[in-house]
Symmetry: C2
Subunit: 347 residues, 2 copies
């Protein structure tokens, strides 16, 4: 059996409650006693039992993390290690730990969340994604446990604390950047429409076109998964159009990488034949050929701020709901140029 507060008390000749107060560094204990107790702790190499502490204080000092289905392709996205890093750092700074649930099916994940919330394993929860219809979000709202979502909630935006980028504006600006370059045949390659971020980006794209009186063309809007295969199919569809686009807004770097490959296979050169902008600016966006022009959404900060504001909510239950918008920045690399009429390809 491990050494407990009682052992320390005995050795230091004080009551267990005194030891407890020393741990909490209560000002009502004399320096002399504190010293004595600390020495005893040192000597026995005492470490407080978190479980017992949690039970007594009704707080676990840990944050629950809800990921999308582990089998989902999205999970493979380098986005996650990075948010995790931010989350981890934000939590660590305030001495909070991280508890994870995942699962293969949505049902499994849901059960996991219920367990950890009702089971009192965590003091709060962060949802690492935002989907259109989400049982888990609904559940979280029905309990009175603090939680924050990373991404924009599909509904009740005003009532849910969340950390997000202004994806609408970002995509609008990026599209306008292409328009400014002279493009007027711009396509949108989006991911899974169940994720709110896809919707926001699509809306931003459409808004830009409308503002500049460029007709929307349904054939120019393709939705696929965030990953490779998606990108490939999307490109083939797009380029088999009678008038193929001269520029692409791609919702994710990984997908853009797939696009780049397909293009290369087809002998189409970027950016001379077709321009591309994408999102997230993950590590490999600078490792592609050519390096991707991509919107840096500061993934780390998304996680970091989520952790920080969740902890605030935990500590102060009356904390108002907040919306935290993380800035973004277009990183211009080598996938965008003026449209080149001469080289326009017909497939």
């Amino acid at each position: 059996m491990a050494v407990t507060i009682k052992d320390v008390a005995k050795l230091a000749n004080v009551a267990p409650s005194t030891v407890s107060r020393v741990i909490a560094n209560s000002p009502r204990i004399s320096e002399k006693t504190k010293q004595k107790v600390r020495e005893a702790m040192e000597q026995l190499s005492y470490h407080p039992n978190f479980i017992a502490r949690s039970l007594a204080s009704q707080s676990t000092q840990t944050i629950g993390l809800v990921m999308p289905s582990a089998t989902d392709v999205v999970f493979q996205n380098p986005f996650f290690p990075t948010v995790l890093r931010g989350l981890s750092e934000g939590a660590h700074e305030k001495q909070y730990g991280l508890y994870m649930t995942t699962g293969k099916t949505d049902e499994e994940i849901y059960d996991g969340v219920v367990q950890m919330v009702q089971g009192g394993r965590v003091d709060g929860v962060v949802l690492l994604y935002s989907k259109v219809e989400d049982k888990i979000l609904t559940y979280l709202q029905s309990q009175d446990i603090p939680f924050v979502v990373i991404g924009k909630p599909f509904k009740n935006v005003e009532e849910i604390t969340h950390v997000d980028n202004d994806n609408f504006r970002a995509t609008k600006e990026v599209t306008e950047y292409l328009i400014g370059l002279g493009h007027d045949h711009i396509a949108f390659v989006g991911g899974n429409l169940n994720f709110v971020v896809t919707i926001e980006r699509l809306l931003g794209y459409e808004k830009a076109l409308r503002d500049h009186h460029i007709p929307l063309n349904n054939d120019y809007i393709v939705h696929e998964q965030f990953l490779k295969e998606g990108g490939q199919e999307a490109v083939r569809e797009l380029l088999s159009l009678s008038t193929p686009p001269t520029a692409l807004v791609v919702a994710d770097d990984l997908m853009a990488l797939g696009v780049l490959n397909t293009l290369d296979e087809m002998g189409i050169v970027v950016p001379e034949d077709i321009s591309i902008v994408s999102f997230n600016n993950v590590l490999l966006s600078e490792m592609s050929r050519p390096p991707l022009t991509s919107v840096d959404i500061n993934i780390f900060d998304l996680g970091y701020e989520a952790a920080k504001s969740l902890i605030q909510m935990i500590k102060n239950p009356k904390e108002p709901t907040k919306r935290i918008i993380i800035p973004y920045e277009l990183i211009k690399r080598y996938t965008c140029s003026h449209p080149n009429i001469e080289r326009t390809v017909q497939v």
Copy 2:
């Protein structure tokens, strides 16, 4: 206050201990009583309190995860989401949860591990990496908490349960594959030598050369970080040699991607001018130009088996130490060919 076992007991007209037994599905309770109690639980929507349960039973049903420093480039490697997925699935199947620690410095991580172990937050630990000198590993051995490491321990291999690939053999085979293709100027581009996996792969490479009486050349061995910048520098160094290699064994896909880029920039074509094999076969290895010939090490299984055997150790403290070797497979894609004397480049 949440609904407890007592509330259920009251409603069902039984003692709290009976409820507890129903939860544990004790055979000593009559079906009738079980039914009655379960109805009461349902009605009150009771959920057992994990913390209290943990305290009473002295087991948390959670596994602690130790990652490398979050700031380390390695953390960005797609390797991690994938092991995490395996770990998660293995744990989930046995109803275990996952608790994470990370930190910016090694010191922070170390403290985190001590907290979670001594604090009794977890029943066991899995080390997600294997380094040459590791305070954390030493600490874990000094405690009597079950733990398993993913990768090969640097020393005391026989005494530490671990899950690994046979990286030595894999690299040897892969090098022989290149030799079989006709290459005899083969370089090795490895990652951080503090990671045991790097060492193993280097050793396998050297062994292959020796077995085939190809002289080892120190200039042909380059160590850099696993990531991009590393790859680039390595390539420049290598190709500035008087007789540059015609083939490269690269220790990691991400790094190989960097290599590919630099080569492309230098106008060197793969595989005609130089052949490349790499490791891990992460998603983007098929997304590169050309798609990478890479050793699939079954990352998911690494995590899955680690979780499974850790849980066995937790349940059965007398479980012998084990070494679990996960198979690998060379996935041949388009970065290897016979050496082409004609096209050999001099830089």
